[in-house]
Symmetry: C2
Subunit: 369 residues, 2 copies
């Protein structure tokens, strides 16, 4: 039995959001279970969605280990399923196995540094199934392994889908993100042409500095022409969009269609080239809007990592995981702006800072300081 502090988020029907630390007693691990002392857990956008959503943090009440904020009414309605539920936060992280159940798979991990993705990782300790642990390579640190699942496997999945569906090149939005930089390195290594869409000249410079060939700035007056030129140069027909709201997904399909129909005889049904944009994030939580100016051979689809890995099967998923392990400190290196404890994460200045979701400014929770 170990005493554990964990960070939880609770939304009530009246819109009151309480994010606080609570203590619980964790039983000893049995069978295949191992007890992991969590050394580092990243704050990903998907974590922020559960932690705060669009709640008003600027005008929240802060006390030690507790934030009480107001959630806008439309968001409360959209989150009807979680009302009154105490939700532990933190998708993934890395730490040390300090106790294990009887099963050989569990015993084998004793003392090992592992990465896991069970949820509820903003805590001091976590009981997890040994078979879901990814043992970090020798010499790797918990900080290096903390984000070994979500971003690396998501970026690898993009290229995996490209291959399975027979596309030649990718388009990626919010491409200067931590995930975007990983995707760039994967595409460079694998020879997959990648059109990076970013939102400022500074982000263009960042990706160009990392060797990106095609970087398009959506804040530039020439954005639309630049996008078409890059899609024409690469032959991209598959896009991944982290933004979700607004017109960008549709603009990407329209640009792909313009390239596909160049030189072909006019058809009022558009080209036969299949074009697809997968929405995997919601940096803009507003509605998605598109003019169907790209024929009938298109799809806009949601993308989520876990069902995708299930769809490709255990063997393919393990191949992706193995690559993460092999290239943890190179292709999949993450950089963190700051490390914060569980208590610090609930203070005003820190919460406002990491909730900005600024590209390239990723935070790491270190529950043991």
């Amino acid at each position: 039995m170990v005493s554990n502090t964990q960070l939880v988020s609770t939304l009530e029907a009246d819109g009151q959001l309480t994010v606080h630390l609570r203590d619980e007693a964790l039983p000893d691990p049995t069978g295949h279970e191992v007890l992991v002392r969590i050394d580092a857990a990243p704050i990903n956008p998907s974590d922020l969605a559960l932690l705060f959503g669009p709640a008003d943090l600027a005008n929240a009440q802060y006390s030690p280990g507790k934030i009480v904020a107001t959630m806008p009414e439309p968001a409360v309605r959209a989150m009807a399923g979680r009302l009154g539920e105490v939700c532990p936060v933190g998708n993934e992280g890395a730490g040390t196995v300090i106790a294990a159940g009887d099963a050989p798979e569990a015993q084998a991990l004793l003392g090992k540094l592992v990465a896991v993705i069970p949820g509820a990782m903003y805590a001091q300790y976590r009981l997890v199934d040994a078979r879901a642990c990814l043992v970090l390579p020798d010499g790797a640190t918990a900080e290096q392994g903390a984000g070994a699942f979500v971003n690396p496997l998501t970026a690898l999945s993009f290229v995996e889908m490209l291959r399975r569906e027979g596309h030649k090149a990718l388009v990626h939005t919010a491409a200067a993100s931590n995930l975007g930089q990983m995707l760039l390195r994967i595409c460079q290594a694998d020879g997959v042409p990648l059109v990076n869409i970013v939102r400022s000249p500074a982000q263009v410079a960042l990706l160009k500095g990392a060797g990106a060939e095609y970087v398009v700035d959506s804040s530039a007056a020439s954005y639309h022409d630049d996008l078409i030129a890059a899609i024409e140069a690469t032959g991209a027909t598959l896009g991944f969009d982290a933004i979700g709201g607004g017109k960008q997904a549709g603009q990407i399909l329209a640009a792909m269609e313009q390239v596909a129909s160049k030189g072909a005889a006019f058809s009022r049904y558009g080209s036969n080239t299949f074009k697809k944009v997968c929405v995997y994030g919601a940096l803009d939580m507003g509605p998605t809007v598109f003019n169907r100016s790209f024929g009938f051979s298109w799809a806009i689809a949601g993308f989520l990592l876990t069902p995708f890995l299930a769809e490709i099967g255990a063997e393919a998923a393990e191949r992706l995981r193995q690559r993460v392990r092999d290239e943890l400190t190179t292709t999949f290196a993450s950089h963190y702006k700051a490390r914060v404890t569980l208590e610090q994460a609930l203070t005003r200045d820190v919460a406002l800072a990491y909730n900005v979701r600024a590209t390239g400014e990723k935070y790491l929770i270190t529950p043991h300081g």
Copy 2:
């Protein structure tokens, strides 16, 4: 050699749309070709898109065999590919084979009544490949066979996709249409639950009278609740949308998600139930708008008949065609409000009437009177 009159549509860069009759000399059929005397050709929404698009017919100039109208500027830009091109109109139709090339397949059709889908069917005659002809069953009329391709095969394709992708039930918008009524009869025969979305109480009565079990009126105050109830009763996770613009596709996905997540533990990623809406028409040419309030397991995709038939392969496509032939005067019966000649189709009152695209008011062109 035969002298032929055909109906063509030409759009110039300045927005002037000319729809007129022109004469041409057709060579004699050779090889696999047959010469079809066109007896009947339906005016489908997809024909109207090429014929007039959003041009201003009310203020057009009408003279015998000719309409000159103005196309709105945004539409001119969207149709850049057809500027200056003389486009023959008329996707499908039926008629009698009056001459044939030497090939046995062609010779075998002499004197037969056939349905074809080569385009350019608003004409007196058409040269087509014998192997693309569908011979109408004994006793069938040209009027009965005129629409044997587009609507019947599209409706059959919806049920085909449902089976291939493992869905249990369908949702269909603009369900009181000619195509919608065919789909209803197919679903009744095949035992596939179908949620019919219509836009007026009169259309509810029409479909209920035809034996439809689930009919939802989008003009009713209770629309959203009614839709959820019908989706819950049927388990529908696949929708087909003829409307395209506006919020309906997203509302269908949201209703499917509400049903899928009922009783399940809250997940901020939504349910794992895959939900899909295919957009196959553009009754509303405005932008498509949706709030992504249905998790990440979804897709909105374009649907077009020809690529779908190619995708399922020749054998499956022939199975669908055979069913159309077998059930031409029952399941796939079409009703026409009026028959018009090529000359009548270009007069003001007639053109304004069939361009309304009103549900259940379908027109038939009969080039030989």
